[in-house]
Symmetry: C2
Subunit: 128 residues, 2 copies
């Protein structure tokens, strides 16, 4: 088993994040499976399926930017054809507030490479 | 494949939630794998491993109660020996505020039954 930080899903996630932070959600859409399920701290329900995720992302395309971002302490738990990636994420844009996130990504190994079957983004608890 | 609402992990989760809502985190501890990874909206880092989760839960044992709770729209994605359960959760205690949660639980099938390999709790976004 590869070490967590060298697991292939970490590089896939970093590449999608790099695109996300330049306003481009396409990296995550391309990685997401047709049956992806998705939670984030803004949308009031689970988003079910890639078409619904694409519709959700469409109006924010080109609107989210982070000039600095960092993936913190990625860990991967392999369960057969699944790889569960968990990490924290810190992002900021110039003088804007620093955003702190928790993320869980469940990847599924397919003939077409690793695809995201479940995404969960949320805000990290305060340090105090 | 069983329908999502009848997948065995849904009943396991409901039973652990019922105990949780009477102040008893033991149901989740018993379900959690030794290598569980855990996020919630309060703790400032990922909690790694069942011993750390037990230490985190210890001081809140007997302190969290919800007289009413409801699991909303549970879905299960099976990936080989993994079952990814996602749902929303609403809880309240008498006249207290209604809490609204998103949850992702990654279960792993083992010789000892289904065990939780990854937990992610967060607050649901506002409806507005």
């Amino acid at each position: 088993m590869p070490s967590p930080s060298h697991h292939p899903v970490v590089a896939l996630e970093r590449a999608a994040l790099a695109r996300w932070c330049t306003g481009d959600p396409g990296g995550f859409l391309e990685l997401s499976a047709e049956d992806v399920v998705y939670f984030d701290p803004v949308v009031p329900t689970r988003v079910d399926g890639r078409p619904a995720l694409a519709a959700y992302y469409a109006p924010i395309t080109g609107k989210i930017f982070a000039s600095e971002w960092r993936m913190i302490d990625p860990a991967v738990t392999e369960i057969g054809e699944a790889a569960v990636l968990t990490f924290r994420f810190v992002s900021s844009n110039g003088d804007g507030p620093r955003m702190r996130w928790n993320c869980t990504e469940v990847y599924r190994r397919t003939g077409d490479g690793w695809k995201i079957a479940a995404t969960h983004w949320s805000f990290t608890g305060d340090e105090d």
